[in-house]
């Protein structure tokens, strides 16, 4: 392929996509490159979310003494979920979703990462989706990308990594789109040509510019098409909701960008929400982080409208935190944690998993919530349910060495 032919090809593709979107006979759906219509959103919660505080085991007789100032259960403002667990007040606006079966959790889950409790190794392993033994830095790709690699004919815009930070979970051999909501690129045709020339011999730069130019075109086309479209009810709902939360918050921009892609050809989106490392003053810190997560879920439900019924969001973190509160009204790095799931396609209204208990002898290393299941099995079950991917592929190519036995069906 010559230097500019890929680009011309991409340009043509974008032009066709644009006119097709305007045609009443063809919906953008016709051009979806993925063989499925379901949507998956993977949110990485960086910093180590304290699952015990988010989904509070207030029915556990050993729970109360562990968190003297943080509190637990309805007395501390949490909403009862099932008589045993209660939801942190920071997520109380999600209770209608819980009641509608659109919110669920997997408790006492973890990656295979143990003992050193480093955020950075923990996140790498979570996103790589491998066991701890194969964590060679050189061959890092992400499990969400490996899932895409199992589907022939995937196009870049099937999956979007959103935000300025790079998202290892979607990195790898399968083509994916990477973009940040605020990024723009306006170049003269001559400048484009010269840039392609100077980037040509360097694969990283060559691929980055091809994708940047391609995405700029298709995002522009999408924005134009959207302007011509009447703003439908769900878009208006999302806009109102964003307005109410102060407009241009970064996490809401990510959600809005994701919604605008997922309403069209995109089937998989991933981004991060940071701020979970609550060593001190957890009451305030966790509330802030949960507010972001709650906003994102509500904005996506509002914005996706009819597509919400086909959507599942999973939010995962590198590890949980210590069962006991530490000496500074916070918690330190732990092991077992919690995965948050939401969406119209979810079999929600349930806290999944096997609760290990909180007695001294039940804790991991005498300090952390004991993981009773591999968080990757829940991610795998989500993809199995949404996309119909074979269990054998999930247990080998996507999550090498994973055993999915014992994980419930998560998708309607």
């Amino acid at each position: 392929m010559s230097m500019t032919s890929r680009r011309n090809f991409l340009l043509r593709g974008a032009a066709i996509g644009c006119s097709a979107a305007a045609s009443p006979l063809l919906t953008p759906m016709t051009f979806a490159a993925a063989p499925w219509d379901a949507r998956l959103v993977v949110i990485i919660l960086r910093g180590g979310m304290d699952g015990i505080d988010v989904v509070q085991p207030y029915g556990d007789r050993d729970a109360a003494g562990l968190r003297p100032t943080l509190g637990m259960g309805e007395g501390a403002g949490a909403s009862d979920l099932d008589g045993f667990f209660a939801l942190h007040p920071g997520l109380s606006e999600l209770m209608p979703l819980w009641k509608a079966g659109e919110l669920g959790f997997a408790h006492a889950v973890s990656t295979p990462y143990r003992d050193k409790r480093s955020h950075f190794d923990g996140q790498d392993l979570l996103e790589a989706g491998t066991g701890f033994d194969v964590m060679a830095k050189e061959k890092r790709d992400g499990w969400l990308n490996r899932m895409l690699q199992t589907i022939p004919g995937i196009e870049a815009e099937t999956a979007y990594a959103i935000g300025r930070e790079d998202q290892l979970v979607l990195t790898g051999a399968a083509a994916v789109a990477n973009w940040a909501p605020e990024t723009r690129l306006n170049l003269s045709p001559q400048a484009e040509r010269l840039l392609e020339l100077v980037y040509h011999d360097d694969p990283i730069y060559r691929e980055a510019i091809a994708e940047a130019l391609d995405l700029t075109d298709s995002l522009e086309a999408a924005a134009q098409a959207q302007e011509e479209e009447e703003m439908d009810e769900s878009m208006a709902d999302m806009a109102n909701m964003m307005q109410a939360r102060g407009g241009n918050k970064a996490h809401l921009k990510l959600a809005e960008f994701a919604v605008n892609r997922l309403r069209h050809e995109t089937r998989v989106a991933s981004f991060s929400i940071n701020g979970w490392d609550t060593h001190g003053g957890q009451a305030a810190g966790l509330k802030r982080a949960l507010a972001s997560l709650q906003d994102v879920i509500l904005a996506m439900k509002a914005g996706l409208g009819p597509v919400w019924g086909k959507t599942t969001i999973i939010a995962m973190t590198e590890f949980g935190r210590t069962a006991r509160e530490n000496g500074t009204r916070g918690t330190d790095h732990g092991t077992g944690g919690t995965m948050v799931m939401a969406g119209g396609a979810l079999r929600g209204g349930k806290v999944y998993g096997q609760w290990p208990g909180l007695a001294e002898a039940d804790l991991y290393a005498g300090r952390d919530l004991m993981p009773t299941a591999d968080v990757r099995a829940y991610a795998a079950a989500t993809m199995r349910g949404l996309f119909g991917i074979e269990k054998s592929l999930l247990e080998s190519s996507v999550f090498p060495g994973l055993d999915m036995a014992g994980v419930d069906r998560l998708i309607l």
Binding site: R46, G47, P68, T69, D115, K116, R117, S118, H119, F120, D121, R164, E165, D166, T171, A177, N178, W179, A180, E182, T183, R184, L185, N186, L187, S188, Q190, A191, L194, L195, L197, V198, Y199, H200, D201, D202, I204, Y205, A208, I209, E211, A212, L215, T216, N274, D277, H279, G280, E325, N326, G327, T328, R329, G330, D332, H333, A365
Partner: protein
């Protein structure tokens, strides 16, 4: 590979400059580093202690507010003014950081400072620390990059901003006097963990959770306030000895000397020597470092008890130091500094920008390039690998800024064909030479050269 002035300026400095000379030898680079810190005087940045009058005043205002139940209009106005000054100072510190990189002949110093500021990443928390990471870097690090690693480690770990960032000030020993009086107070292991994992041995180092815990007990009692700065509270220290990496620290009564002793030993640990030497090589030379270079530096570290000048000297005199090709992606801050420098923009011009222009022309574009200055995601600082930075969105932001810079400087732009040599010496590839000739306008030619992989690498 013999010493190469162009590689020296780009890989170890702030880039080439149309007038200022590139380094002449490794020895000359080290000599400049040993000499006076010219740029610190030319573009001053305050130290943390300089903020204290302001911190005191804010405390008085907060107390007065509590007493009155509200702020009077006069108090309101004063708080507003202090906050505005704080934001302006934050922008000024970025401008001065960049200006130092534009006018210096001692670029290695500026780059080393950024390396160490990243190695010992601090992020602003509430109050006076929020917008003042620059004062910590100036205070704890700038004067220590040519000394011993152990001295730097002690200065950093006891610095109020590091203590606040990693939740140390409220941490007290589980059997301390304070914990006895207030049973809910106790240990917080955040700082101890990051000191072992990031600052000294590295995550691959031979420490365990037990060492983290014991080190947190040695650290217990370290606190800070705006009257004293660093403040060790014996009453928060953990009585009895703690064993960290097989060595015992302290006796019956906790004391601050135990903290210095454990930091001293951590600084000289062979895993620290290797971890930090490797980080230096990864930062300056290659994402896949030459193992021999790392080993020689680590050996020198051990031989000289962590004398950083000796370690730098081994790095700069190793054959791999000036071997091409350049493979690292410049971080956005390095790209911004080197692009302005290649165009010969004087430091004074950047230093004179107002708050709005600092944000629009410098800080804002760097955010889009993936580097919200002073706000990396975690205490591990900025990633090193090329693939992290050269993403579609990151590269688009670099190109957009380069094109805008060329447009802003259009009155003084050189001919693109001359600029190739000015910016890249003899390192420019054929396509870059061609693009310089083929560009339709001067602005686009300069923008394309600055966006090229040749210029993005170091």
């Amino acid at each position: 590979m013999a010493f190469d002035p162009t590689i020296a300026a780009i890989r170890f400095g702030s880039g080439l400059h149309p007038q200022l000379p590139a380094p002449k030898s490794a020895g000359a680079m080290l000599k400049l580093l040993r000499g006076p810190d010219v740029m610190a005087k030319a573009f001053p940045i305050p130290v943390y202690g300089d903020l204290m009058p302001e911190a005191h005043r804010l405390r008085e205002l907060a107390r007065a507010r509590k007493k009155l139940g509200k702020r009077t209009p006069k108090m309101e106005a004063e708080v507003k003014l202090i906050r505005a000054n704080d934001r302006e100072r934050n922008a000024m510190m970025l401008r001065h950081l960049i200006a130092r990189n534009l006018d210096t002949e001692d670029g290695f110093r500026e780059r080393l400072l950024r390396f160490w500021a990243d190695h010992f990443t601090v992020k602003g928390r509430g109050g006076i620390t929020r917008n003042n990471v620059g004062t910590y870097v100036e205070d704890a690090l700038r004067g220590r990059i040519t000394g011993r690693f152990g001295d730097m480690l002690k200065a950093v770990v006891t610095h109020p901003m590091m203590l606040v960032f990693l939740d140390q000030p409220r941490s007290v020993g589980p059997n301390s006097f304070i914990a006895g009086r207030t049973p809910r107070r106790g240990l917080n292991e955040n700082l101890a963990r990051e000191v072992l994992e990031l600052h000294t041995l590295g995550v691959g180092g031979r420490y365990t959770q037990k060492d983290v815990r014991e080190l947190a007990e040695v650290f217990a009692g370290m606190s800070q306030n705006i009257d004293k700065g660093f403040n060790y509270m014996t009453r928060g220290g953990e009585p009895g000895a703690e064993v960290v990496l097989g060595r015992s620290y302290g006796g019956e009564d906790p004391k601050v000397e135990d903290i210095y002793a454990v930091l001293h030993d951590l600084a000289l640990h062979p895993d620290t020597a290797r971890h930090v030497s490797r980080k230096l090589v990864v930062h300056f030379v290659s994402d896949t470092p030459d193992a021999g270079m790392v080993e020689e530096m680590a050996a020198e570290w051990q031989r000289t008890d962590g004398d950083l000048m000796a370690v730098y000297s081994v790095m700069l005199n190793h054959p791999a130091a000036f071997a091409g090709p350049l493979t690292k992606a410049k971080q956005p801050i390095d790209f911004v500094c080197s692009a302005l420098r290649a165009l010969g923009v004087p430091g004074a011009e950047v230093a004179a920008l107002n708050l709005g222009r600092t944000r629009r022309n410098l800080a804002g574009p760097m955010i889009l390039m993936g580097q919200h200055w002073e706000h990396p995601v975690g205490p591990d600082g900025w990633p090193e690998d090329e693939a992290h930075w050269i993403t579609p969105q990151g590269l688009a932001a670099r190109i957009s800024w380069a094109m805008r810079l060329a447009s802003d400087q259009r009155k003084t732009l050189p001919d693109p064909r001359d600029f190739v040599g000015q910016a890249l010496g003899d390192l420019a590839s054929e396509p870059v030479h061609f693009a310089a000739k083929a560009a339709e306008t001067r602005m686009e030619g300069i923008g394309v050269i600055l966006s090229s992989p040749d210029f993005q690498k170091r």
